[in-house]
């Protein structure tokens, strides 16, 4: 199979994820969309790995998964903390860093 299809699929998923990150206001959904983007990246990495016939891309994909897991841990932790403090579950309301 041609590598192009894999990359097209990967790009689609990435754009879906990015659109979700930019448009949704619920931090949980934003987190999910981030996962989508990471996995789109993973897909591209694995596809390239297959095309070149070496395992470098696979290793990177594993590392990305680890990072994704860490990110989810922290992200969910923040969301739980927000919930516990009865803060609004909405990224637009969280604008205390405004200069």
């Amino acid at each position: 199979m041609d590598i192009v299809w894999f990359l097209v699929l990967s790009a689609f998923i990435f754009v879906i994820g990015a659109t979700g990150v930019l448009t949704r206001r619920n931090p949980l959904v934003v987190l999910l969309c981030l996962e989508l983007m990471l996995n789109a990246g993973n897909l591209a990495l694995v596809a390239f790995s297959r095309m070149h016939g070496n395992e470098g891309g696979q290793v990177f994909a594993l590392i990305v998964m680890v990072i994704a897991a860490c990110e989810v841990v922290i992200g969910l932790g923040i969301i739980v903390a927000m919930y516990r403090n009865r803060l609004p579950i909405d990224v637009d309301e969280m604008s205390e860093l405004r200069g």
Binding site: L22, S95, R98
Partner: protein, 669 residues
């Protein structure tokens, strides 16, 4: 011990006294600080006497001993040592300075009893005397300049001793600025001499100078003129004199110390010390003589109309220093220094008397308010009158011998000096008049309430106020203390004034022409190499001069008697008739106004221009404001980006990443 070790002791005593008093003032009870300081100066005086005895044992031609403690700065060509020179001139100065200073210290113990700055006062006083002794003992120009600047600093500290009085602090600043002008002159002079002779030691410079310079060489004339600038600033000669009358803001013993024993005599000493240079530069010496004469006449005229008791005495000091400068510039070194000594006695005495009168007046210094103190203050009356007699040059007093000797030498030089000598006699007439103007206005006539009260045994207690501005002051530290003292009730003051009164009467015996001439012979080893050493008036012409001086002095006193005792009130008519002359003299020939217009106001205008325009517009507005403006604009842009919207950040991130990607795509293809 040798004479030089005693010389070091002369310096060590006041230095130790200053350190002890200033370090342990908290634990010293009562007047102890004053007694310690007095003892230190007494030690200095005794050491000076011992140095004198040791030095007199030496043959006359060996009487200049140099002793170096350590090398202050060493270079390839010359060394600047911390070294002292013991010769008749420096020993003479040490004796006058430490002797009179000791009596002034004792006087101050009583005078400053009630002041809250008692110990501080005596630390300053000892420092002052130490500086002056350093100045006269220095064996080279470096140490001279050190002592010179120390004296200026000490005078600043003492003049503004009552530091919460604004007039006193201004007077201190004025004195310091004027003195620094003199310091600069002296430093330039020392530099010129070092540049041409390669030496800074007096003896070295004086030895080399005749080899390097021809007579009236422009360099040596300029060096001497700069020496004169230094001398004139210290000795309050025209045109650097304005600080001296203002220095009256200090406590009265300080006035006595500055005017009689130390400070103002430094310029006279310097000119006498540098006589080999002035021999080589007769032009500079002539300038000195002319300015000395101008000052003596100027100050005498101003003293005619001033009503502040201390200021009259201050102008008389200027006038008398004018005589000394005239003397030492006209190569009458012995006579000039003789007058320095007698003046130290009678001027210290006059100031002490003035302090006692001011005490009786509860701080008032205006002669218009005084009168009739003769019965209330017999001791002060007698001593003050003796001082005034000596100042007026009354026959057989000390001032008569010394002043007329200067004038005899001046007339003997011939030529233009005759004019100066005649001006000196004119000044003498004015001096006799204003000296007794003080005596008659203070002591004769109707007794003022303060005098009557004192006769009944109470000391007047006025509101503590500034005599210049009338401002009411509290008596806390930084202002004069609450208590007033008069000599009649305080033995230390009597103890200090009595010997000075005796000396003011009889000190002339060391210089009776043709009879004793002791001082002249004593100073001979220092001045024998002078070109004019053999050039002195005959004994008979000196006696003629003395007779003329006596007549002038008695005439002046008689005129004062007429004006102020026999026909009281005539002076008021005179004042009204010659209003303009009076105003001219009252404003001290408008010197202060002139300096104000020429120096002070332009400087103040430039300062306020700098503050208003340069500081606010250029520095604050353009430089600082420009820099902050740029930063502020940058930050407000950066702040505008920080919206706080997470999704906006994410969008920017994506755009950035996409832009980078696009860039790499385009550049790689």
């Amino acid at each position: 011990m040798t004479a030089t070790s005693y010389g070091w002791l002369v310096l060590a005593f006041p230095l130790a006294g200053m350190l002890v008093v200033s370090l342990s003032w908290r634990v010293l009870p009562g007047r102890l600080a004053g007694w310690i300081a007095s003892a230190a100066i007494l030690g200095s005086f005794v050491s000076a006497i011992l140095a004198l005895i040791d030095m007199q044992d030496l043959p006359a031609e060996e009487r200049h001993l140099v002793d170096s403690a350590w090398t202050y700065a060493a270079t390839a060509d010359f060394n600047a040592d911390v070294s002292i020179l013991i010769d008749p001139l420096s020993v003479f100065m040490c004796l006058v300075v430490s002797g009179v200073s000791f009596l002034i210290h004792v006087y101050s113990v009583a005078y400053m009893t009630g002041d809250h700055g008692h110990a501080r006062f005596f630390a300053y006083l000892n420092y002052f005397v130490f500086s002056m002794l350093l100045l006269v003992l220095a064996a080279n120009f470096v140490l001279l300049i050190v002592g010179w600047a120390f004296v200026g600093a000490a005078s600043y500290l003492l003049i503004s001793f009552w530091y919460r009085r604004s007039t006193a602090t201004h007077a201190g600043i004025k004195a310091f600025v004027m003195n620094v002008i003199g310091d600069v002159g002296l430093v330039i002079a020392a530099f010129l001499l070092l540049d041409h002779t390669g030496q800074l030691d007096y003896l070295g410079v004086f030895e080399r100078a005749p080899e390097v310079f021809s007579t009236n060489d422009s360099t040596i004339v300029w060096a001497c003129i700069f020496i004169l600038v230094g001398a004139f600033a210290k000795s309050a000669q025209l045109p650097l004199h304005t600080w001296l009358p203002d220095a009256m803001e200090g406590p009265t013993p300080v006035s006595a110390l500055i005017h009689a024993a130390t400070m103002v005599t430094a310029g006279v000493y310097l000119i006498a010390r540098c006589f080999p240079l002035f021999d080589l530069a007769p032009t500079a010496a002539d300038i000195g003589a002319v300015i000395g004469t101008a000052t003596l006449v100027f100050a005498a005229t101003v003293a005619l109309v001033q009503t502040d008791l201390k200021r009259v005495i201050a102008y008389s000091t200027m006038s008398q220093i004018g005589y000394m400068v005239l003397g030492v510039s006209a190569a009458a070194y012995g006579a000039g220094l003789f007058h320095l000594m007698t003046h130290a006695f009678f001027k210290a005495l006059l100031f002490m008397g003035a302090g006692s009168i001011i005490g009786a007046m509860a701080g008032i210094q205006d002669m218009d308010r005084m009168g009739g103190f003769r019965r209330a203050m017999p001791f002060t009356f007698v001593t003050f009158t003796i001082g005034a007699l000596a100042l007026a040059g009354f026959p057989l007093t000390a001032g008569w011998f010394s002043k007329d000797e200067i004038l005899a030498y001046t007339l003997n030089r011939g030529g233009g000096f005759v004019v100066l000598g005649i001006a000196g006699y004119l000044g003498a007439a004015l001096t006799a008049f204003y000296a007794f103007r003080m005596v008659f206005r203070v002591f004769s006539g109707k007794a003022v309430p303060e005098a009557e009260e004192l006769e009944q045994g109470h000391l007047a207690h006025g509101e503590p106020q500034n005599p210049m501005t009338g401002e009411v002051e509290d008596t806390d530290v930084g202002f004069p203390g609450p208590e007033h003292v008069v000599a009649e009730r305080s033995w230390p003051m009597k103890f200090a004034m009595a010997p000075l009164a005796v000396l003011a009467l009889v000190a002339g015996v060391v210089g009776i022409p043709g009879v004793t001439d002791t001082l002249e012979h004593f100073l001979e080893p220092t001045f024998e190499s002078s070109t004019y050493a053999e050039d002195h008036p005959s004994t008979s012409s000196e006696w003629v001069g003395l007779a003329a001086g006596a007549i002038i002095s008695i005439a002046g006193i008689f005129v004062a008697f007429t004006f102020y005792v026999r026909r009281r009130g005539i002076t008021l008519d005179l004042r009204d008739r010659y209003r303009r002359v009076h105003d001219f003299l009252w404003h001290k020939w408008y010197f202060d106004e002139l300096y104000d217009a020429v120096f002070v106001r332009p400087a103040a205008t430039a300062g306020s221009f700098g503050r208003r325009v340069i500081e606010t517009d250029v520095v604050q507005g353009f430089i600082v404001g420009g820099a902050t403006g740029v930063v502020r604009a940058g930050t407000s842009f950066a702040r505008a980006i920080q919206t706080g919207f997470l999704r906006a950040y994410a969008l920017l991130l994506f755009f950035g990443a996409a832009a980078l990607l696009l860039y790499f795509l385009i550049s790689s293809s």
